[in-house]
């Protein structure tokens, strides 16, 4: 049953055990630990293969950023990861207009065990969406990899290729690739141009003077 890794961040750890217990039948709830910055949280998400992320809105007791700011960052880095705000302050988080209100849940709407069951179903469905999209990303990545191999990849595509690789690699969707494959096509070409250019240059005079001067 623990197929789905759900990440959870809250500055108040007193209810973590309860959330874990109430959700344990359905998902594997992992709590963000040892992170100071937003980027730390992003790396934590990758390392823990998080498939759906839940954040408290006010994180002020422990972090310097809010839940909505964190989700904005994560969405930029991993657009397909569904991130949900779970808060006692739904109005405040909605008013910010950083996270869609559809993805903002009032904690007080979780009043019964059935509410938790329903919430879990939503989290699991969001995880399935993420998986499906990862598969689609894998296909796109294969196309780019082929282009890379035949050296027909553009600069933009190359950038996408590298970011997709990091993501797929984090979620064990692909194996390690040899380092040479990440050597940029552009740098390779520049290296070649420089090499040819240096060959075209006449050797320096013995007195060290440059003949072009």
């Amino acid at each position: 049953m623990f197929n789905y890794n759900i990440g959870y961040i809250d500055d108040d750890s007193s209810s973590l055990d309860d959330y874990s217990e109430l959700l344990e039948k359905y998902v594997n709830l992992k709590f963000v630990e040892n992170c100071k910055t937003i980027h730390d949280v992003y790396l934590w998400v990758l390392n823990n293969k998080i498939e759906c992320f839940v954040a408290d809105f006010k994180l002020s007791d422990r972090y310097t950023f809010s839940g909505t700011e964190l989700i904005e960052y994560l969405n930029k880095k991993i657009p397909d990861l569904v991130c949900v705000i779970l808060t006692n302050y739904p109005c405040d988080s909605i008013a910010e207009n950083i996270v869609s209100s559809i993805l903002i849940r009032d904690r007080n709407s979780l009043n019964k065990l059935e509410d938790f069951e329903n919430f879990c179903s939503e989290l699991r469905q969001a995880s399935q969406v993420f998986h499906k999209r990862l598969n689609n990303i894998e296909t796109s990545f294969s196309v780019l990899l082929e282009k890379k191999r035949v050296k027909s990849i553009t600069a933009d595509e190359e950038e996408t290729f590298i970011s997709l690789y990091s993501l797929l690699k984090a979620y064990n969707k692909i194996d390690d690739l040899p380092n040479e494959i990440f050597k940029s096509e552009i740098s390779e070409k520049i290296d070649k141009i420089l090499e040819i250019a240096s060959k075209c240059l006449p050797a320096e005079d013995n007195d060290g003077k440059n003949p072009w001067e």
Binding site: S14, S15, D18, Y89, L113
Partner: protein, 745 residues
């Protein structure tokens, strides 16, 4: 050769339609038919899933002869001649067009009518009337049958309805099934019909004619229309009864006044008479007149017998002064039901005669009470004539078919304006006037009583009057009349007492405001604790469901109890302050008071990792305890806000309370963010009301800006001050010294 006239079928239908244009009017017509059929119950049932509407009554039913000769002869009404039923009930219709109401509601109609001896099925498709043929060529199917009313509704889905039919409707009666409804029906339609019928049926016939409006899932109790007037709140009730021989009895009941313990002091000579003792206790004032004493123009009562009940009900609650002066009952909880029950309505044989008293129409004030009021706008206790406002009167006047000189207009839009109708109106005005006279009698006497028992107010009036006259008198060279010193002293003392009361009230309001500020500031925290408590209980519930071990359950329950304690601590912080014993000025041990109060904050502060250190002198200071608590609460609330997003690990508050001979000094400081730049140079600005810089994450101002203002006001009450000067030089943190002057023991 004589050729008979004929009529186009559609024209006949249009005549019917003209008379019944609205859905609720159509339904009322059918309900009236049910009543006229001597039914004691009538059911309206709308079935959402099939979009069918049923109307069922347990009246006498119609035989095939009645259906052919009467029911299907347009314009025929047996009620024109035989308007009294065997039961004595007077039938309400007379035009023979009520059946067209069926056409108004639906395109197709099936009817089963069951008398003691036969059952008849009747079907009509109203669209047949559209085909351009003559009325005599349009037919309805009519066949004898053996099915019962229960069989007829066998397929309906509401079981309770079926049971009710079996119990009360199976012997005789009529049932209509209307399909292809012309309006789009919803739950709101049902609710509107219910409301409309509730106002159309007067309470008096509730016992003899019960109406039900069922929907697919409603129960009998939910469907029953209850006409409830017993809990109606009013000031005066007038019952009147006019007999055929012209005797008019009027009963006026006073319900407006409540003298409480002062009853025997007020209701006595010279203000009131002996009989008033009973009248104020609910015994109605009885008045008996001959008709020509009321209406001198007529010797004989040509209107016939009628009766009615009218209510006078004030709409706005009187102010404190008026309440004291006139001993008015408290009417704050009085519901404004003008939209339903407003206006004086006429009922003929227990059915409404529209449009009299119809709310929001010109016919609402058909007795022209507003005109009377405009002509004589005097106050009730004045020497002028007080007139009731049109919107303050409501009630019902009951006439019957026997009042032949008050005939219905043929379009059913009211009563023909005969001279009897004018007399009828005049009589009602007279009845209202009787109430007006009584109320004015009471209020004038109460005013006199008030003046006699509140001489200070009279003195004050005298002072005001003399002061106003001073200018004109000096111009005219008249000698200025002086006010006696003893009278002036009495007025001053009275004012001083009032000021003290207001000061006390003000102080209590400040404390309540503090409670509000604290609650408002921590509402999210309170919600958070409530949610955590809920989580714990859910884990317990899940553990029980999953059969987890006892230790686990115990652990969770203990944690829940801890949270409950925390929950209570919020209430201690917010509510305890306004307890009665804290609102009494007394010598208070400041050390104990402050320590106990801060102790109640500890649970909350612990949660937020805030540490309070205190240094408090052992001293007894004369004060209102809640003033000290209010100061501390407001300061701590400000500090907690200041610590938010400060990024500090060590959050400290220091409270030092010292004293000298006549001053108590509260030195308060925290290491939070300190005052914002806006207030840094002029920290005293924060003592102004509504000054705040507390913002939410969206940068919206969310503070009340009242906390420091309350502290300043409190300090001033003790002839003290609030010193904020040190904040100008503080990079972070906040510091203030509050000085309260007073007496120590």
């Amino acid at each position: 050769m004589k050729i008979p006239f004929n009529v186009d079928a559609n024209t006949a239908r249009l005549i019917g339609r003209e008379n019944v244009s609205k859905l609720d009017g159509a339904i009322l017509e059918l309900v009236k038919n049910a009543y006229d059929a001597d039914a004691d119950s009538c059911i309206l049932y709308y079935e959402e899933s099939s979009n069918n509407f049923y109307l069922i009554d347990n009246g006498t039913g119609m035989s095939s002869k009645v259906i052919v000769d009467n029911w299907m002869t347009i314009g025929y009404s047996s009620k024109k001649t035989d308007y009294k039923l065997s039961s004595g009930r007077i039938q309400t219709g007379a035009k023979g067009i009520g059946r067209f109401a069926l056409d108004r509601i639906a395109d197709h109609c099936s009817m089963l009518s069951k008398t003691e001896s036969e059952s008849i099925l009747w079907n009509v498709n109203w669209s047949d009337f559209n085909s351009g043929i003559k009325i005599t060529d349009v037919g309805a199917e009519l066949e004898p049958t053996k099915i019962t009313i229960s069989d007829f509704i066998d397929k309906v889905k509401n079981i309770e309805l079926k049971n009710l039919i079996k119990e009360k409707f199976d012997k005789h009666g009529t049932i209509f099934k209307l399909s292809d409804l012309r309006d789009s029906w919803t739950i709101d339609t049902i609710s509107d019909i219910k409301k409309s019928l509730a106002t159309l049926i007067p309470p008096e016939i509730d016992n003899i004619f019960q109406l039900y409006v069922f929907s697919e899932n409603s129960t009998i109790d939910e469907s029953k229309i209850i006409v409830n007037s017993s809990d109606y709140s009013y000031d005066y009730k007038i019952d009147f009864n006019v007999s055929e021989d012209g005797n008019a009895d009027i009963y006026i009941k006073r319900e407006e006044f409540d003298f409480g313990n002062a009853f025997n002091d007020v209701v006595k000579s010279p203000y009131f008479q002996k009989a008033d003792l009973d009248y104020f206790k609910g015994v109605p004032i009885e008045k008996h007149y001959k008709f020509n004493e009321i209406l001198p123009d007529i010797d004989v009562n040509t209107i016939g017998a009628f009766r009615g009940t009218l209510y006078f009900a004030k709409l706005s609650a009187p102010n404190k002064e008026e309440k004291e002066k006139y001993f008015y009952k408290d009417i704050i909880s009085r519901r404004d039901t003008r939209d339903t029950f407003g206006g004086i309505k006429i009922y003929r044989d227990n059915f409404r005669v529209r449009p009299y008293g119809e709310v929001k129409t010109t016919a609402f004030d058909w007795l022209l009470l507003a005109n009377r009021k405009a002509k004589s706008p005097a106050a009730v206790s004045s020497s002028g004539l007080w007139r009731v406002g049109a919107e303050q009167m409501l009630g019902a006047v009951y006439i019957s078919r026997l009042n032949v000189n008050l005939p219905d207009q043929s379009n059913r839009e009211g009563i023909v304006e005969t001279k009897e109708f004018s007399y009828f109106r005049e009589f009602l005005i007279f009845v209202i006037q009787e109430m007006e006279k009584d109320r004015q009698y009471v209020c004038r006497n109460l005013r006199q009583y008030h003046e006699d028992t509140h001489p200070v107010e009279i003195y004050q009036e005298e002072i005001n009057k003399k002061s106003e006259n001073k200018k004109s008198n000096s111009k005219k060279g008249k000698k200025q009349k002086l006010v006696e010193a003893s009278k002036a002293k009495a007025v001053i003392e009275n004012k001083e007492e009032q000021i003290k009361d207001l000061e006390d009230e003000n102080r209590l309001l400040r404390t309540l405001a503090t409670t509000g500020i604290v609650t408002n500031s921590y509402i999210h925290e309170i919600k958070d604790v409530a949610h955590k408590l809920n989580l714990k209980l859910l884990t317990v519930q899940q553990s029980v469901n999953d059969g987890k071990d006892k230790e686990h359950l115990q652990k969770k329950l203990e944690e829940a109890l801890q949270l409950q304690k925390k929950f209570n601590s919020w209430f201690t912080v917010t509510i305890e302050m306004v307890k009665r014993d804290k609102r009494r000025m007394s010598f208070v041990s400041i050390k104990k008071l402050a320590e106990d109060f801060i102790d109640s904050w500890q649970e909350v502060l612990k949660e937020k990792n805030i540490i309070i250190t205190m240094e408090i002198s052992e001293v007894n200071f004369k004060c209102f305890p809640y003033d000290i608590e209010s100061i501390i609460s407001n300061l701590i609330t400000n500090s907690i806000n200041s610590f938010e997003y400060s990024g500090k690990d060590n959050k400290n508050i220091k409270i030092n309370i010292t004293n000298n001979d006549s001053e108590l000094k509260i030195i308060y400081e925290d290491n939070g963010k300190g005052l914002s730049d806006k207030y840094k140079n002029n920290p005293y600005q924060i003592l102004e009301p509504f000054e705040t810089n507390k913002r939410d994450t969206n940068d919206n101002l969310i503070g009340t800006g009242m906390g420091m203002w309350i502290i300043d006001k409190t300090a001033k009450e003790y002839s003290g001050s609030v010193d904020l000067s040190e904040n100008i030089n503080l990079a972070t943190g906040f510091k203030t010294t509050i000085t309260l002057c007073g007496v120590f023991k």
